[in-house]
Amino acid sequence: MPHIANFESHMFSIRRTVALISGCAALLLSGCVTDSGSGSAMPTAAQLNKPPTKDRVLWNYRNGLSALRQGKQEEAKLQFDEAISVIGNIFGSDKSAKKSRNYFNEESKKNFIGEPYERVMAYFYRGILYWMDGEADNARACFRSGELMDGDAEKKDYRSDFVTLDYLDGYATFKLDGDGSDAFKRAQEVSKIGQLPTYDKKANTLVFLEFGTGPTKYAGGEYGEELRIREGRSVVRGAWFKTGNKAIRIGAYDDLNFQATTRGGRVMDHILANKAVFKSTTDTIGNVAIVGGAITAMNRRSQNVGLGIIAAGVVSKIVSAATTPEADTRTWDNLPQFISFTALELPLGSHTATVEFIDAAGRIVPNLTKTVTFTIVEQRDTVLFVSDH
C-alpha cells in the first residue's frame, strides 16, 4: 500500500509540475498578444479615421482611387502623392521591415507598400492626374516609375510588361515633340490585344478606362506562409466610347490578374518559408520531447531527467507557437481588373459622351453605362477617367 501511495504522490507531483509549466506557457503566450485583436476595446472615432502607420499607404491607395472615381481630383492627388513619397523612398534600413523578418513577428508588421502590381497602379493613377493638369512630362515620369516597379518579376518575360504604361510613356513623349517609338515598340511587343493604335498628335481627348474587380490576396501553405492571389472577376471585357458621330471600341490593354499572378517568387517568400520550417521543426521537437520525457519520467530512477525533457519540449512548443510565418495578405481591394486607354480628336467646345461597357460577346452590360460631359480647349489635352465602379 505505501508503494501505491508513493506512486500516486509521484504522479501528482508530475501533473502539478506539468500544469505549472503549461500555466506559465499560457501566460507567456497571452502576455505577448498585442492589442490589435478583436478582443480589444472598441476604437474611438478618431482612431477609426486614422490608419495605423504600417497601413497608411494602403489607406492612401484605397482613398485615392475612391476620390478619383468620385471626381475629387485634389483629394486623389494628395493621397497618391503621400503613397508615392513612401513607396519611392524605401531604401535601406527600415525598422518595420526588419521586424517583419523576425521569427516572432508577422510579415504584416511591416509598413505596407503593396505588391508590384499595386505600386504600379498608384503611379498609373497619379500619372492620369498629372496629365489632367496638363503636365504630360510628369505623367510620363509616373508611368516610367510604374514600369520600374513592375521590373521585379522572377521570370524575365513578365518584367515591365504593362502595355498601358509603355504605350502612354511613348504617347506623352510623342505629344512633347519627342520620339516615342521605342516605348510604343515595347508596348506592342507585350500587347495582348493585337496591333495598338498609332499615336496621333492631333488627338486632344485622352480617355482612361477601368473595369471589373481586381485581384486580392490570401495565405496558403500549412502555416499560411505562402502568399497567393485570388483572381478578380469581371463580366466587362471592353467598352464603346460614343460622342457625336464617333464610336470607338476599346479593349482591355492590361489585366491585373495577369500582372498579379506572374510576379513569381519574392525574397520574402524564402524568409517566410524558413520561418515555417522553424515553426514545424520546433513543434515536432516539442512533441517528441514531451512524449519521450513523459515515458522517461514514468521510471522513478530517471524521473528528474524525464521532467527536464518535458520542460524542454514545452519550451520548444512555446517557441513554435510564437513563430509567425503568415504571409502579408493586406490588399488594395478596390482596384479594377482591367485598364485601358484611347485617344481621339474632337472639335473645341463642350461635348457629351457615353461609355457603354460590353461583355466578352460584345453585348452591352446593363446598368453600367456612364455619361460624361467635358470641354475641349485649345492647346491642351482633355483627360477623362471612366470607371465601371
Binding site: N6, S9, H10, S13, T17, L20, I21, C24, A25, L27, L28, G31, C32, T34, I84, G88, N89, I90, F91, G92, S93, D94, K95, A97, K98, S100, R101, F104, E107, K110, I113, R126, G127, Y130, E135, D137, N138, A139, R140, A141, C142, R144, S145, L148, G151, D152, L176, G178, R266, V267, M268, I271, Q303, N304, L307, G308, A311, V315, A322
Partner: protein, 214 residues
C-alpha cells in the same frame, strides 16, 4: 523517498519558471519603437536628411541651382552687357522617372540671380501677363490712376530664354536601384536662337530595399 523527489522537483522547477518569466518579460518589452516619437529635426536644404530616396531631393536642387546661377553670371553676354539683359523663364521638361515640381529649379535660379547679381540681369514676369494686361486696361480706360501714359507699350521683350531639361537613366537589379539624373540648362538668345550658355550637373544615387519589400 518522496521528500527527495519533491526536493529535486522544486530544485529544477524554480529555474525553469524563472526563465519562462524572464522570457515573458523580455518578449513583452518589444513591439513599440520610439514610443515617444522622434522630435522634428531642422536641417539645411543642402544636407542629406535621414529620409532619402534615389530621386530628386532638396540637396540636389540647391547644389544644381547654385552651380547654374554662378555659371550664368560668368557668361559674357550677361557680365559685359551695357544694359541688363532681360530673361524669360521657359518651363523645364522633366524626362526622368520622378514626378517633380518643375518650376522649382528655375524659381531658385531666378531667386539666386536676383539676389546676387546686383541688377546685372532682369527677369520678366510672363506668368503674370494676364494680371498685368488687365491692370494696363484699367489704366487705359481711366478706372485707375496712372503715373505714365498707359497707351505707351512698356512691356519688355525677352533678350534670352532660360530653360532646361532633366533627363534620367535607371538601372534596377537584384543588387538595388540606381538612378542617374542629368540636369541641363540653357540660355537661348531670343533674337538669333543661339544657345549662348549651357551647363549641366549630374547626380547618381543607388539604394536597395529591405528584403521584406523584395
Amino acid at each position: 523517498m518522496m521528500m527527495s523527489i519533491q526536493k529535486s522537483l522544486s530544485s529544477w522547477f524554480k529555474p525553469i519558471s524563472c526563465s519562462l518569466l524572464a522570457t515573458l518579460m523580455v518578449g513583452c518589452t518589444t513591439g513599440v519603437r520610439n514610443p515617444s516619437g522622434v522630435p522634428v529635426t531642422q536641417i539645411n536644404a543642402d544636407e542629406r536628411g535621414f529620409v532619402a530616396g534615389t530621386g530628386i531631393e532638396s540637396q540636389d536642387l540647391v547644389a544644381v541651382t547654385d552651380k547654374m546661377a554662378r555659371s550664368i553670371l560668368s557668361v559674357k553676354e550677361i557680365s559685359q552687357a551695357t544694359i541688363p539683359p532681360r530673361i524669360v523663364l521657359k518651363p523645364v521638361e522633366n524626362k526622368t522617372r520622378f514626378p517633380i515640381n518643375k518650376d522649382i529649379f528655375l524659381t531658385r535660379i531666378r531667386s539666386e540671380l536676383n539676389s546676387k547679381a546686383q541688377g546685372r540681369v532682369r527677369f520678366l514676369a510672363r506668368e503674370q501677363m494676364a494680371a498685368l494686361q488687365n491692370e494696363r486696361e484699367l489704366k487705359q480706360t481711366g478706372q485707375v490712376t496712372s503715373n505714365s501714359n498707359p497707351n505707351v507699350q512698356e512691356f519688355k521683350g525677352a533678350d534670352f530664354f532660360l530653360t532646361g531639361t532633366l533627363e534620367g537613366m535607371t538601372t534596377r537589379g537584384t543588387s538595388g536601384t540606381s538612378d542617374y539624373i542629368l540636369y541641363n540648362f540653357q540660355l537661348i538668345d531670343a533674337r538669333t536662337s543661339e544657345i549662348v550658355w549651357e551647363n549641366s550637373a549630374e547626380i547618381k544615387k543607388q539604394g536597395l530595399e529591405d528584403a521584406a519589400y523584395r
